[in-house]
Structures are given as C-alpha cells and as structure tokens.
C-alpha cells in the first residue's frame, strides 16, 4: 500500500505530496543524467557504463559508513575528487583510444566496461543487498501537509547545488566555454588551438564525478548491490533522450518529467509497474521525437 494512502487524508495532502516527491526525485535524477548528457554532448559517446560508476559511489558510501562510521555527506566531499580521478583514468586508459572510432566500437567499449565493473563488484563484495541507515534517514519532516525524510531533502539540495554549479561552470568559465566550443564543432575547435584531448579528459572526469557523487547521495535511500546502477542508468537514458542527447537544460526538464511519470504511475497503478511507464514514454519519444522534446528535428539521423 502506498505510504501516502496509509497515513490517510487527515495528515497528508496527496497532490502536494506527489508534487514534492516529483521534485525531490527529479533533482537526483538530474545529477545522474547531467553527467551522461555532458559526456555525450561533448564527446559524442553514450556511456553505457554510467550506472556502474553510480554503483561504485554507493559502495564507497556504504564502506565508509560501515567500516569508518563516516556519514555519507562527509564522504560526498572526498567522493568528488576520487571519482574525478577515476573518470580521468578511465578516459586515459580506455576512452581515449576509441574517441575517433565508429559508433559500434564506442558502444561495445562502454558496454564491456559496464559488464566488467559490475562483476568486479560481484566478485569483491558478493551480490547481497546492503543498506545503510545514518541518523538522517529516519528523520521525517512534515511541512504543509507533506511528509518526507531528511536524507531525501539533503540529497535533493546537494544534487541541485552541484547541477547548478556545473551549469555555471559551463556558462561562465573559460574552460566551460572551451568545452562548449568543442561540442559545437570538434574540427573548428582544434583549428582555434583548443586541445580537444584535454577537453575530453576533463569532460569525462566531470561526468563521472557527478554520477559518483549522485551514488553517494542516494546511498541512504536505496539498497546497494552490483546491479544497482542499472535501474538508475536506464532511467537516465530516458531522461537524456527526452531532453535531447547532449542538452543539459533539456536533461533537467527530462528529469522532472520522468520523476512525475514515475510518481504518478506508482501512485495510480502501484510501484511494480512504474518502470513500464517511463520505458513506454522512452520508446514513444524515440519514435516520434528522437531529437528530444525540445531538440532540433533530424539530429538523430545524423547518428550524431
């Protein structure tokens, strides 16, 4: 039974609760999706291993909490440089070699990376579901007829702050401008003296840092297991395609739409069927507006 219904109309305003849940989920999805869309927009590579970095972020939070007693919000601070480094390394070791290769080579490189990482986690840490419960995950906030827990609110606030920071970085710093220039036209950027290899390295590192941080943020809310990334990443694909692959503002809007579909779908039809709705939405968008809801028509047939 849906928690909102169990508490009854006297305590919970259903519409307000659904709206708040949508916004909270949307903020977290945005942070996951923004890294994916950034990597695609600039490098023209769909990172099929994106979810695995989220899973690694969750494990980092889990082990820091159980072994060292570190709160996930403390871990967040160290996770950003750690995952930045991981992204940097993965770019240098794996992605650099295929950046100019065909789509098929790129697809199967990241798919292979996904399979390998998932199973490294399985071998090292077994397939058990693991849960952490820091104190803030059991604090319930009640505001204006809605109820939600503190971890969710903090995760949302941090996710939104990080996403906004990334936007500001892309818009106002010199490096951000260089990255956008590379996204617009790789060859012209090279002619202008931009070191595209450095841009890609930076892009991949930032994208992975975002999703690693997202993994740490969601760790008090969801179980950790080797395939944990899969549920989020499939969702991130939906978000990113809705918003238009490579479009960061589109990804924000896409996150809210997917969150709304998920929240409304699980309220009306039960949580078991919620994925079906966003996948149907996904296929619908791919068929009718493949360039995304706000994108330019025709981008998808270029194979990007």
């Amino acid at each position: 039974m849906d928690p909102a219904r169990r508490l009854g109309p006297a305590q919970i305003d259903v519409v307000a609760q659904l709206a708040v849940s949508t916004v909270l989920l949307g903020g977290i999805y945005a942070l996951i999706a923004v890294g994916l869309t950034l990597i695609f927009g600039i490098m023209r590579v769909v990172n099929f291993a994106h979810g695995e970095f989220l899973m690694l972020g969750m494990y980092l939070a889990f082990f820091a909490f159980t072994l060292e007693g570190l709160d996930p919000y403390v871990v967040l601070l160290i996770s950003i440089p750690i995952f930045y480094g991981v992204g940097w390394l993965v770019y240098v070791l794996i992605m650099r070699g295929v950046i100019h290769a065909s789509h098929n080579v790129q697809i199967f490189t990241t798919v292979g990376l996904s399979t390998a990482l998932q199973n490294v986690a399985l071998v090292l840490w077994t397939g058990d579901f693991r849960v952490i419960r820091p104190w803030h995950s059991s604090v319930v906030l009640r505001v204006a007829g809605t109820a939600f827990n503190l971890s969710q609110v903090v995760a949302w606030a941090v996710a939104v702050a990080l996403t906004i920071a990334l936007f500001a970085f892309m818009k106002w710093t010199h490096t951000g401008r260089v990255m956008r220039a590379t996204a617009q036209d790789r060859d012209a950027a090279t002619l202008m003296g931009i070191d595209t290899d450095r841009v890609y390295r930076l892009t991949f590192a930032i994208g992975i840092a975002c999703v690693g941080a997202a993994g740490v943020l969601v760790s008090p809310l969801y179980a950790v297991y080797p395939q944990a990334g899969l549920q989020f990443v499939t969702l991130a694909y939906v978000v990113v395609v809705l918003g238009g692959l490579g479009d960061m503002a589109g990804a924000m809007a896409g996150s809210l739409i997917v969150a709304a579909v998920e929240v409304a779908g699980s309220y009306v039809f039960g949580a078991a069927w919620k994925e079906v709705f966003y996948f149907l939405l996904f296929i619908g968008v791919l068929v009718f507006r493949p360039a995304g809801l706000f994108g330019q028509r025709g981008a998808e047939t270029l194979g990007a």
């Binding site: 199967f108 490189t109 399979t115 199973n119 990007a304």
Partner: protein, 324 residues
Amino acid sequence: MTRLAPDRWAAVALFAAAAATPLVTRDTFMLDSVILILLWGSLSAGWNVAGGYAGQVSLGHAAFFGIGAYAAALMSARHLNPWLGLAIGVGLSIGAGGLIGYLSNRLKGPYFALSTIAFAEVLKIVASRWRGFTAGSEGVPVPFRPGFATLGLGHVAWLYLILVLALVCYALQMYLERSRVGYQLAGVREDEDAAEALGIATRRRKVQAVVLSAALTSMGGSLWAQYVGFVDPSHVFSIDLSVRFALNSIIGGMGTALGPFLGSLLITSLETYLRATFSGIQAGFTGIYLIIYGVVLILIVRFAPEGVTGIAARWRTRRDRAHA
C-alpha cells in the same frame, strides 16, 4: 571448380567435429559443451544477420530470445506442444522485429541501441510482473516429457537437432554473403545514402534483415528453454544476454558466416572451462567469467575490431604477398 576458401574449410571442420563427437564419446559434459557452443553460435549468427550484415547493431536481442523461450516454456508447462510454442514465438518475434526494424529506419547508432535496450526492458518487466500468465519473476520450469514431439530429448539427439539449427543459420549467412540481397545489405551498412542513390530499397532491406534476425534468435530461444528446462525473466531478457550474442560475433568477426560460431567456440569453451575450475564457489565463478568477457570485449573492439576471421584474412594476404 573453385577452391574452398580457408574459412569455409574451418566451418566444415567445426561442424564435422561437432557431428562426430557422439561417435567418440558419450560423456555428458562433452556433449553438453558441444551443444552449447552450437546453440550460442546459432544465436549469435541470428544477431549477426542484423548487426553484422545489415549494420543494425542491437543491444536488445534478448527480447526475441525471451519471446521464443517463454513461448516454448509456457506451452510445455501447460502440457501443449513446444513446437507450436516455437512457431508462435517466431511469429511474435517477426512482429516485434518488424517494429524494431521500423525504428531502425528512424534511429542511428547509439539511438538505435538505446531503443532496443528499452524494448527488451519493457518485455522483462511485463514477464516478471504479469504473474497470472508468466508466473512472474519466479520463472517457468519446463517439464521433461520424453519424445521428439515434446522436445524431451537425450544429449545425442539434442546435439544433432541443434546442429541442424546451426547449419541453417550458417547457410542463411552464406546466402547473405553471396546473393544480391547480401550485397545490397552490405551497401546499406557501409553507406546508406550511396546505397539509396543506387536504387536499393534500403528501408525495406533493413527491416527484412532485422525480422530474419529476430526469427532465428527466437527459434534459438525456444530450443534453449526446452534444453535447459527453466526460464526466468531476469535472465532471458537481460542485457548480458544481448551482449553475449554480439560478443561472439565481434570476437569471431562481424558480418562473416563463420565468425559467430568461432566466437562461440572460444567464449563458450572459456565459460565451460571456468565453470569446471571454479565449481563450488558459484557466485565467484559467474563474476570472474563475466569480468574476462567484459575486458575481452573492450580489447577486441579496440585492437581487432574485425575479429579472429579478419585477423586470419590479414595474415593470409600478407603471406600470399610475400610468396608472390
């Protein structure tokens, strides 16, 4: 009389060795290994028709495999004829393949791959949640009913049955290598606009390739379900399975008739060997096998994207040039 090309000889040797196995040994482990090599090879050949020959790289072929597996298993579980299930599965997969093929006309590269993943995911969710019809995520056990009509066979009979499937797949691929349709598909794969300009019905050819590929994969799925005896949604519709079909073809050589079988020989033997070595630590084994699988995939597409048959062809050309 033209001389047989070396990869045709290799194929003849591979299939002859498979056919001769029961004459040499009746060891269940050996027979099982050969059956799985042929079965995964046939399934990869099915993938290869769309991914290799037509260039429509799918990451959702588990959808067709699952449709076939469920069709046969559900028929068997209801004490009906699994062959009828196989036929129904093929029919459904042709419909689904037509849909995916239509998508392939609108979407390229990563967009197409994403849409095929989404398609397989939807089927996975439906199969695991529609309890009344599919028994949900617990899966469907296939009862063993001896006889050819009910597909309850011994290992030797299974081996020859799967060998027939493999030969059919191989023959179809040969046809795609040599026929007019095959050349047209190669044109679509290499440069669609140029092919279109030459008057090739590119859209129709792509849909046909995906439909044929779906039908073969579904057939393999039905036989797999009957052979293994258990179907569960999180396995038969998984991305891992879709990747496996692609992986065999990529390792062996995409768009070649021998490639998928050669890839299956290498990968399936590796899996069987590791399973035998690491038996006992079950969870650990699957992980180690899949780590190798992922790493091999990364290395192959990076350093030898044309696969083993491609490498062999390159060596031959170099040698012939040295002799000339």
